[in-house]
Symmetry: C2
Subunit: 406 residues, 2 copies
């Protein structure tokens, strides 16, 4: 297997560190718009870097992506860029005849007149529209294969296969107790992306009603996270699992709730109220004269870069899938979860917990594809494939999952 990894940011860099310890692939080409970032990621691997090379690549330039896939004879493209680049990478992979993996799906667009009631263009719609082409070509696009979506979908399939006869609700629940020394407010993940996903209308699935949307931050609930994280206020957020799970699994309801906590929700609401979440530029004085800047970029510029906060960060992050239903005629409720302690991921991999937890999953998926344990063609979510080998591999990687019967 020869992999083209596109994106050497926080997650891409952690992918190289995890993959470097596994023998399953022959070569990984690390590509980034900023060649220096790609080179740094490879250089940091030291002696373990002999199967890696770094190249410059603009992910929006289809011709350049095709050329790079060809030159490096890659049979898989792993997309670790932000979701604006999903379509050019997804389509270039098929054009080349490579398999494709990503960790976030093509972007949604709100319903033009009823944004908080009905779906407009849904996450991943633009990818699923091309599913027949992938099937016809005998190639696999494994979409949403990070931690959430990704591992959370594998948990849903595992619950459906082995733990339940009937499922009432599959609810992805994500929470953390991370703190950052020296900052009153320092998000552990890109504020640009967090604004995007949290201010879009959240999507919910119900068997009778299909997919529908609600207002941002709807249906708050306090979820008690394991491993000492404890209770965190969670709210509905637009996320891929709600679009993926019902395509393969039977459940009366599918939700995603993100443990933003009161303070973060308040911050996002205020940014929206003041129009500081906008990407359309405003005109403002600058050292270069009256300049047009995107308010959302200014918000990001005022906050520390989350990828660089690992050393100052403390605590754990938890991703997981809560399932409620019936087994052997009796009600059952479980939470399947994966926790990463920042102290551990920094010591073992030099990567902060949130990006490391995202990165391990596509590496494990590549390993299963390389060994023929996972396979197929078309556009598939992680829940379309057998879950047990994946969960066992996580444990083999030294990062076991857990289950709480509740």
């Amino acid at each position: 297997m020869r992999v083209l990894l596109v994106g050497a940011g926080g997650v891409g860099t952690a992918i190289t560190r995890i993959a470097a310890r596994r023998p399953f692939f022959e070569h990984m080409t690390v590509a980034d718009y900023d060649l220096g970032r790609a080179e740094s990621a490879v250089a940091a691997l030291g002696e373990r870097g002999d199967r890696f090379s770094a190249v410059r690549l603009d992910a929006s330039d289809r011709a350049a992506v095709l050329e790079t896939l060809g030159r490096h004879r890659c049979d898989v493209l792993l997309n670790a860029t932000d979701p604006r680049f999903v379509l050019p990478l997804f389509e270039s992979a098929l054009a080349h005849g490579a398999h494709y993996l990503d960790m976030a799906m093509s972007l949604s667009r709100p319903h033009p007149s009823r944004p908080y009631e009905e779906c407009g263009v849904k996450l991943g719609d633009a990818q699923f529209e091309q599913a027949a082409d992938w099937e016809a070509a005998g190639r696999l696009a494994l979409v949403g294969m990070g931690v959430e979506p990704g591992l959370s979908d594998v948990f849903a399939r595992y619950a459906s296969d082995e733990l339940f006869d009937e499922i009432e609700e599959i609810g992805i629940r994500d929470g953390a107790n991370l703190t950052v020394d020296g900052y009153d407010f320092a998000p552990s993940f890109s504020i640009w992306t967090t604004i995007e996903e949290c201010l879009n209308p959240p999507v919910v699935y119900e068997q009778e009603r299909g997919w529908y949307t609600t207002a941002p931050f709807s249906e708050p609930e306090v979820f008690d996270f394991p491993d000492g994280i404890g209770p965190v206020e969670c709210v509905n957020v637009e996320h891929e699992e709600v679009l993926l799970v019902p395509r393969w699994l039977k459940a009366r309801k599918v939700t995603f709730k993100y443990g933003l906590g009161d303070e973060f929700i308040g911050v996002l609401r205020t940014l929206h109220l003041l129009g500081l979440d906008r990407t359309e530029p405003v005109s403002v004085r600058s050292d270069l004269g009256q300049a047009a800047v995107s308010p959302r970029d200014v918000v990001a510029a005022c906050l520390p870069d989350p990828a660089g906060l690992g050393e100052r960060m403390h605590g754990k992050t938890c991703a997981g899938t809560w399932v409620k239903g019936v087994k052997d005629g009796r009600p059952r409720e479980v939470y399947l979860y994966h926790v990463v302690d920042n102290q551990w991921s920094m010591r073992e991999y030099g990567s902060q917990a949130v990006v490391w937890q995202t990165a391990i999953n596509p590496v494990a998926a590549l390993e299963l594809l390389a060994g023929g344990v996972w396979g197929g063609s078309g556009v598939l979510g992680p829940e379309a494939l057998p879950p047990r080998p994946f969960l066992d591999l996580l444990t083999e990687y030294g990062s076991p999952w857990g289950m709480r019967e509740q």
Copy 2:
């Protein structure tokens, strides 16, 4: 009397409209950094504008201020700029031999090590240091002569002279029920200045302790405002009255609380948490390349210009002074107040309520000075002068004050 009005923004423009109806002065020169603003203010007076002329003036350029005072033979300088320009205008007026009025005093600087306990440089300190020079020259600097400070100080003096034998607390309380059509969030006053005054450490005066500071937004209380405005949450804010009142009047405690309301306090806290209140530039992408912009300027650029909101605004604004003490051996508590209805100020003067309410007070003060009813030399606050003629003049202007015995 020949007046040099410096600043033709919202308040300066409203000053010209109010003054144009009063015969007490011979000429008013309207000066602004932007000549077009000064000319618009004069042009809008129509037939009533024959005693006005417009000039360009940089308020920070002392030589230019002196030259303008001389050329137009002005005997009073009325400062309607923002507080960054207090010192050059104040000092140029004395150098020329003119009297001086302003509506905000020279800026404070927090205590370097104990900002939320002790005062550093206080509001107005730089002006009071020069009081002896004004006395020696026989010229008057009447400082803080807007609505708050200004009318609020006149109310304090009136209460002290006529309503109380002993005063326990003089508490300025400012609140409104203004809303703006078509905006979820649209401050009725400059957000730049609101951030400045609300995020500085608030100052409090106590007879035994003197002046001291607290953390921002301290000691919240719900104050019930008259004329249908109703209860609004008020918090301590740094304001001139706390520095002025104890210099002339006897009270055990002097406070200023601003009816920001929950939502506005939350917004200001969030802006501070994210560093978006900062004036020091951050580096961000722009149409001109990587540019340095002040986050606080970007916040202002995202919000509508408050001076232009009058037509879409509804509701009333209230400024007033609550006094608690003893009269004839019995406890007494009164609230002396002045309410402006935006609908009225827009219809009568084409000015929105908040700027109009500020503007009427320096015009009334000039009229009393012109007629010799008010006078003196040195640096004086409004509470140093007899209150009754001022309060009667407000009523004569068609904007009466009120008193609630509570």
